[in-house]
């Protein structure tokens, strides 16, 4: 009798465990499905921030200055430390293009150092003192419909993230440019026929 009861208890216990594990599995499945369906929306509204160098084109911002590029509330912002924010409405951005550029690092001090190095040592340094960047080219319009262009340099690999972020917010990317366009280092000439 006791054994029967015990056996009975055990079976009911294992059945309950199975029910619990099944419901937990169902719950996990539901949560994951829900998360998948809501992921793009949360990504589109979440702020996105990276370090960038402004080459030209953004309003009220000097050329070749470093700052933080942010996308938040459908506005693309570029802020230097302690300077006013330059911002462009993402709705006014028509196209975003991604490219690639190799830039010599170190600026003017490095240039002077390389020039001063004896026995052509500067050239050897130049061979290694370069860094690859992604170039983000934006085309946007102002209130009067005038076309503006802006160029930003970001660390290699991050350009694609910014482009995807802007595309997710409704900006068109170039149709003929799936990946970054490489600027060939070879001296190739193209003639207009």
């Amino acid at each position: 009798m006791y054994r029967w009861f015990v056996r009975n208890d055990k079976s009911s216990c294992s059945g309950g465990q199975a029910l619990i594990s099944l419901s937990a599995l169902l719950l996990c499945f539901c949560i994951s499905t829900l998360a998948q369906s809501t992921a793009p929306a949360s990504k589109a509204n979440s702020p996105f921030s990276i370090r960038a160098t402004h080459v030209m084109g953004l309003p009220n911002t000097k050329s070749n200055c470093k700052g933080t590029l942010t996308t938040e509330d459908n506005v693309l912002r570029f802020q230097q430390s302690g300077k006013p924010i330059a911002q462009v409405d993402i709705a006014s951005v028509r196209y975003v293009f991604l490219g690639e550029e190799s830039v010599q690092v170190g600026g003017l001090p490095m240039k002077i150092g390389k020039a001063a190095a004896p026995y052509g040592g500067g050239r050897l340094v130049s061979l290694f003192a370069h860094k690859k960047y992604d170039t983000l080219t934006l085309e946007y319009v102002d209130g009067d419909g005038g076309l503006h262009g802006a160029i930003l340099l970001v660390t290699k690999g991050q350009g694609e993230l910014v482009r995807d972020e802007l595309v997710a917010r409704g900006v068109s990317s170039s149709s003929d440019e799936g990946g970054p366009t490489k600027q060939s280092t070879s001296e190739v000439r193209y003639e207009d026929k």
Partner: protein, 207 residues
């Protein structure tokens, strides 16, 4: 007695320097004025810059945008035009004496900053464009082929700056404003010159 004489001479010298400085300032102002008016016929032309036409060339978008932006900046610097407008600007329709600057790529040789820094002689970025100033009716007022290179120092985009500067230089130095073709399109009363256009941005504002 000697001291008073010395004071008198110092005073005279200071006065003559002051007069000279004032006169030179006035003269400089007078010489600047004609370049600001921009044309012999007295009409101040405005220009609308169109985006760069890459033609058959595989020119990076960053280069196209850089040439366009640099052109706007350099044309403002020439002070030859009353207004320098961007493509698509709605104010262009209100300006009677408007020229359109078209720029077409002719040749492009991509370079490398690293190659330039290492070898000095190779790796130059070279750009050649054909730029045209045309009237609204499509008549070509000025046509030139202009080069812009970066051979030694600076990044590849510096070529676009040099190119824009050269285009602006050609436009500034040539006598297109006095051409007979353009004389036909000079409006009798330039409304914009009188400042009656609402929302017209001046050179300074465009900067």
């Amino acid at each position: 007695m000697k001291t008073s004489k010395l004071t008198f001479w110092i005073f005279c010298l200071a006065a003559s320097i002051m007069i000279a400085v004032t006169l030179s300032g006035r003269l400089a102002g007078q010489t600047v004025q004609p370049s600001g008016t921009g044309s012999g016929s007295g009409t101040q032309w405005s220009v609308q810059v169109e985006r760069i036409d890459p033609g058959q060339l595989d020119l990076a978008h960053s280069f196209q945008v850089a040439i366009y932006e640099n052109l706007l900046e350099e044309l403002n610097k020439t002070k030859r035009f009353k207004y320098v407008l961007r493509e698509g600007d709605s104010k262009a329709s209100e300006i009677p004496s408007l020229l359109i600057l078209k720029t077409m790529m002719v040749k492009y040789a991509p370079g490398s900053e690293t190659q330039r820094a290492v070898t000095t002689v190779s790796g130059a970025t070279k750009l050649t464009v054909r730029s045209q100033l045309v009237t609204r009716e499509g008549e070509v007022v000025l046509e030139h082929t202009v080069n812009g290179n970066v051979r030694f120092f600076g990044g590849n985009l510096r070529a676009t700056h040099n190119l824009a500067r050269n285009i602006a230089k050609v436009i500034k130095q040539s006598a297109w404003a006095e051409s007979e073709r353009l004389a036909r399109y000079v409006p009798v009363n330039s409304i914009c010159a009188a400042g009656s256009i609402h929302g017209c941005s001046s050179r300074e504002e465009n900067r």
